[in-house]
Amino acid sequence: MKKLTSLILAAVLTASMAVPACAEEYDFSNYDLEYYQKFKGQDIELNVYNWGEYISDGTDDTLDVNSMFEELTGIEVNYTTFDTNEAMYAKLKSGANTYDVVIPSDYMVSRMMHEGMLEELDFNNIPNFEHIDEKFVNPEYDPQNLYSVPYTWGMVGLIYNRDMVNGEITGWDDMWSPSYTNNMLMFKNPRDAFAIALFKLGYSINTEDPMQLREAAELLKEQKTMVQAYVMDQIFDKMQGNEAALAPYYVGDYFTMKEVNDSLEICIPAEGTNIFVDAACIPKGAANKEAAEMYINFLNEPEIAAANIEYICYSTPNTAALEMLPDEVRNDPIRYPEAEQLANAQMFVNLSEETNLLLDQLWTEILSDDADYLNWAMPLFVLGALVISVLVTAMRKKRKKKYR
């Protein structure tokens, strides 16, 4: 009896979860049905690979973009997420999965472009590209705009806790101020961390000059004594809980933190800051390129782009969507700053392999205070350990034989 009850309960629960999704009524009158429904009934699946928490997904009465797309087009969306560009790159590089749409950041787009990992887009299939703000067309990372359609953009700002700082926070110099010793957080990813030091030094954040990078590394080493912790996502927990006074992070995420902790403020450093664009691309080997282009086009429908941007709090490059946003968001100087405020902002581009290696090396050096090392130490250690291991086992065996 008990079993039966739980079975019925489980069935009811499953049904109640499934029903609203099917019964939801979307209004498709604004959409070009002839275009969107050409794959209907063909059982096409689309593998979409995007950042975590980076699409409006139906929670808290928001629009469920993927289910809406499925209903409109009859294409099934398999949506998966990644948490860093590098994780996404490693996964694509391993070739274990095929994706139809990925949304990497600027420098990763150019890296994948240079390595021939991206498919050229057919912009006839993406009519909504006309909504993209001119500022974001033909960007540095994709100069002829053949491979990518911008999805969101944003900046890195210096987040601070009003109640925990003395005086005004104006720029990156505050990240080297001894008065915040043990009270500041720092990026745990080398590219973003180096960018801050390079801005302070007044160099390009895409510098390939080893001398400049070493100079930046010295600066970061000096800063290390004052840094409380190097973090990425843990920053939410720490800034919301008044654990630190200062932390550089992405502007969009600042708004999420501010909802929890009202004492948080942000400043866009005058020395310049990193401006980034996340753009939709189609990787080589995508099974359904045309359907993928349709998905990218759908993301740029004004209504959809507006819903997404309201959900993720970043800034949109889509002018039609921007017009649909509430006035206080549209005129927010932090989210949509004036052109002159962006004068010193720089975008990441892809670095050469040597520079990437050097960057990782310097980063490890910064975090672990390296001493000099001997070239032969490690191979000798490996060999020695193997020999000892074999010897010990052999000796045990011999001893055992003797006893028997």
């Binding site: 490693a90 043990n182 840094v227 409380q228 190097y230 927990d237 070239n375 086992t393």
Partner: protein
């Protein structure tokens, strides 16, 4: 010996999920990007020697702490009967039912400057302590996460030590100290060895704990391996080389603790 057909699935499983990945790691570690043989990767890992030493050091300390804490507890558990022993054993395993990441995240909230522990101390007028982002916090995290792996093997060996064996020793005039040193300790050695291996091996290669509780500055060898795959430069060769060094280290640890042959003590138990 003829192999039974029933063993084939396991053999295939072993080959696909153990032998092939292992072979790939060794292949990547010993070749450069073009596929030519080189030991340059392993030579380069020498750069991370200080990190490796720190990893071994922290893992050794946590293994020792685990052993000291777990040994008396396991002995007590093994002398208990029925429901009490089962309940306590379940309590030991209970935290393992929760995700490893979540457990470590919870420690972050506990140890922080405005965390729960400091808030409680504040009630008694004690100044907030700096606990998070230190090596102590990393060791704490390791001990907490891996202590069940010490208790369980110790317990399973100790329950096999019969009451009669101990009573016999006492009847023959052994003092409590010599009962422990000459009967209980030698008989529990297989459990100690397994426990040490099972705590040391994951502790030396962990990276989540050091990132969450160590503040990013207490880098361990696991962090360095992660950096090779998910850092700026995608460098599977160097990553594999460091993994190989780690595997050799584990092998060394296992042969030193006699993981490969502890059946001699097993004989005495039966």
């Amino acid at each position: 010996m003829k192999m039974k057909y029933a063993a084939y699935p396991y053999i295939i499983w072993l080959i696909v999920f153990m032998a092939i990945p292992m072979g790939l790691i060794i292949y990547f570690a010993l070749t450069d990007a073009s596929g030519a043989f080189t030991i340059a990767n392993i030579a380069q890992t020498g750069r991370y020697m200080p990190v490796l030493i720190r990893s071994i050091w922290l893992a050794t300390i946590s293994t020792a702490v685990c052993l000291v804490l777990a040994y008396p507890l396991s002995y007590m558990l093994s002398r208990m009967q029925g429901l009490t022993s089962r309940t306590l054993l379940t309590l030991v395993m209970l935290p393992m039912w929760m995700n490893f990441l979540l457990r470590t995240y919870a420690w972050m909230t506990l140890l922080e400057k405005n965390g729960i522990i400091n808030q409680i101390l504040g009630v008694f007028g004690i100044e907030p302590l700096t606990m998070i982002n230190t090596q102590g916090a990393v060791i704490m995290g390791m001990v907490y996460n891996y202590i069940p792996f010490m208790i369980l093997p110790l317990h399973s060996v100790m329950v096999k030590i019969g009451k009669d064996v101990i009573e016999a020793a006492q009847d023959l005039g052994a003092s409590p100290a010599s009962v422990f040193s000459q009967v209980i300790l030698p008989l529990s050695m297989p459990g100690v060895r397994t426990g040490i291996t099972m705590v040391f091996v994951p502790a030396v290669s962990t990276f989540v704990i050091s990132q969450m509780l160590g503040g990013g500055t207490n880098q361990l060898i696991g962090d360095i391996i992660e950096l090779q795959f998910l850092g700026n430069a995608y460098n599977p060769s160097l990553g594999s080389a460091i993994s190989m060094v780690l595997m050799v280290l584990v092998l060394l640890c296992m042969s030193l603790t006699g993981f490969f042959d502890d059946d001699d003590v097993e004989d005495r138990l039966i």
